[in-house]
């Protein structure tokens, strides 16, 4: 998985994610995983209907950290891309809105991730 960002945040901040995919994206999912003292656990799974309408939202707890993993099935021979709006409600208003290219070289399923470390 290719990382799109590594963030250092405090517990209690909220993460919001909305997305829009082009037609070379067959389908996609965002898995939210939290890292507890016992290891990684699934926290949430956001599907396209949610991500493209209300968006996914999560308030981060005092865990070791969180992974937001975008997994997309792409059309062979296409030029798939997703436009994200990944926002962290910290003092800086941290956002990631760069278009995410999903290249053929990684297909058929391309993974991208944002990693949040809780301090």
């Amino acid at each position: 998985m290719k990382l799109l960002g590594i963030y250092v945040e405090n517990a209690g901040v909220r993460v919001d994610l909305t997305t829009k995919a082009n037609n070379d994206v067959i389908t996609y999912v965002v898995f939210v995983r939290k890292w507890t003292s016992a290891g990684p656990l699934p926290e949430a799974t956001w599907l396209p209907d949610t991500l493209e309408t209300t968006g996914g939202t999560l308030v981060l707890a005092a865990e070791r950290g969180y992974d937001f993993i975008l997994q997309a099935a792409v059309r062979p021979g296409g030029k798939a891309s997703i436009v994200p709006d990944f926002r962290i409600s910290d003092a800086d208003g941290t956002r990631y809105t760069d278009i995410i290219q999903l290249p053929q070289s990684e297909g058929p399923v391309v993974e991208r991730g944002w990693k949040v470390v809780i301090r």
Partner: protein
């Protein structure tokens, strides 16, 4: 001038795949400038990480061939576009604005000779209705110009042309389509999802991705991995990848770059493992299953080409396409059990996806009766004009195609088998004048990327309908060679 009524019926089912927005062609992430070997000062840590990662998994970029094709196409000599559409558009802009609540788009054709007004599509459940009106620059048809004495023809046609009104050649169009708005595994097996827009299937296919992911090998970097902990110590910020390398203490830069290399290397390794898994799981077949979904497109048109434009034309056509193995069939096989879907996809990855495709096309065209006893220009009949009277005629065409890739390989590529049947029936003034039936079976043997040998068995109800044959049944053996530079010769899409 007679009242003009033009009506087109355009039925379309199953919208094609239209991108929501063009894929961005971001430059290859400063791979050279932000190389970890000597990153420029204004490179961010994210760009340095990308430069390492993208060496193994490069982004999609515009190829040289794409660029050269574009250059070739832009070098084609062009003439100044006709300003007919622009003039109509400008003249009636205020009028069109009154209907802005109902008009979706007003566009001018590329050659400037037609203005197309598209109205807002109407949607009721799975039903779509699209309306459009096309105003084309009216012209004198060959039928009329041929009836003018040759010596006077050019000048008379030019005069007749100037007497035509802006709205003499108008086509009204109606578009109807039937396409699923959503599709789900839980739908009754007997129901069909129509159309090939990926957005319809994205939500249901996401559950396949979730199920497949449960089986995928993990590729984890813990948030308190020593590499990440050290990076946090060296980079004093909350958004690590956004920081420029120049903002890092000079003595720490080499270590930061080294950590980025190691993180990217771990990412590359994880991607390799998971790519192999997802390929083996057959997830690349999802696109083919969408492309095999049933799609029905029907079109119809009525055009009145103006007083000197020849007979009115009415046309209706219908096209049905589907592939044997598609998402509807997968839904019937597996229902809501996505583990069954994952197993089936894995089977396709091992044994191949059935490639049978069917296309049924039917069209009907009618040319109305057309009478022009005299050609009157400037209130005076044109001397020597031959009166025109053409009868109503109709043409009915049908075509059925079936094709599949065979498991037999020739020169490393699958052979292909196609069957097609064509039927044309024409009637002139309600009297059938011609029936034409042609059927062919073609086996295509590939010989590399550019060469193939098609072997066809052809049948026609009359030998003259087949090229180069004197009997109703015959065999053709051919050789097809695709020129390596044919892309350059093709017009831009």
């Amino acid at each position: 001038m007679k009242t003009r009524l033009a009506l087109s019926i355009f039925l379309a089912l199953g919208p094609g795949v239209l991108p929501l927005f063009a894929a961005d062609s971001t430059a290859p992430a400063n791979t050279a400038v932000c190389s970890p070997d000597a990153p420029a000062d204004d490179c961010t840590l994210g760009q340095i990480y990308n430069a390492v990662y993208e060496k193994s998994f490069p982004p999609d970029v515009v190829t040289d061939q794409d660029v050269e094709s574009a250059v070739v196409n832009t070098n084609i000599a062009t003439t100044t576009p006709d300003n007919f559409a622009n003039r109509i558009h400008s003249s009636y802009q205020d009028f069109l604005n009154l209907f802005s609540f109902a008009i979706n788009k007003v566009e001018e054709s590329k050659d400037g000779q037609a203005l197309i007004v598209r109205f807002n599509p109407l949607r009721e459940g799975r039903q779509f209705l699209d309306l459009s009106v096309t105003v084309a620059k009216p012209a004198v048809s060959d039928l009329v110009s041929d009836a003018i004495p040759e010596a006077e023809r050019a000048a008379t046609v030019a005069k007749a042309q100037t007497g035509l009104g802006d709205f003499d050649d108008v086509t009204y169009a109606v578009a109807y389509s039937l396409a699923a708005t959503t599709c789900s595994w839980a739908q009754p097996a007997s129901s069909r999802c129509w159309g090939r827009n990926p957005a319809i299937y994205r939500q249901m296919l996401a559950s396949v991705l979730v199920s497949a992911n449960d089986l995928a090998p993990a590729a984890d970097i813990a948030p308190d991995d020593p590499l990440i902990n050290r990076l946090i110590e060296l980079v004093h910020a909350n958004d690590l990848f956004k920081q420029k390398i120049s903002s890092i203490n000079a003595q720490d830069r080499a270590e930061v770059v080294s950590i980025l290399r190691q993180l990217a290397a771990k990412g590359i390794q994880g991607t390799r493992t998971r790519k192999a898994f997802f390929t083996k799981a057959g997830l690349d077949k999802l696109a083919s299953l969408i492309d095999n979904q049933p799609q029905l497109a029907a079109t119809g048109s009525y055009r009145d080409p103006g007083p000197f434009g020849g007979p009115d034309e009415t046309g209706v056509s219908l096209e049905l396409q589907y592939g044997l193995m598609n998402l509807n069939k997968l839904r019937r096989q597996c229902g809501a059990a996505t583990d069954c879907v994952v197993r089936t996809l894995t089977g396709y990855a091992t044994n191949g996806l059935p490639t049978d495709k069917f296309v049924l096309t039917a069209s009907y065209k009618q040319l109305g009766e057309y009478t022009l006893d005299q050609l009157v220009i400037d209130s005076a009949p044109v001397p020597g004009f031959t009166p025109i009277h053409t009868k109503k005629s109709t043409e009915l065409k049908a075509r059925l195609q079936w094709g599949r890739l065979l498991s037999t390989q020739v020169a490393g590529r699958n052979a292909r088998f196609d069957l097609s049947a064509d039927g044309i029936q024409t009637r002139d003034d309600a009297v059938r004048t011609k029936n034409r039936w042609v059927a062919s079976a073609t086996l295509t043997l590939p010989l590399g990327d550019s060469i193939s040998i098609p072997i066809s068995l052809n049948y026609a109800n009359r030998p003259e309908f087949l090229t180069g044959q004197t009997k109703q049944l015959g065999v053709h053996l051919g050789l097809t060679y695709r020129l390596p530079f044919e892309n350059f010769l093709s017009p831009a899409p």
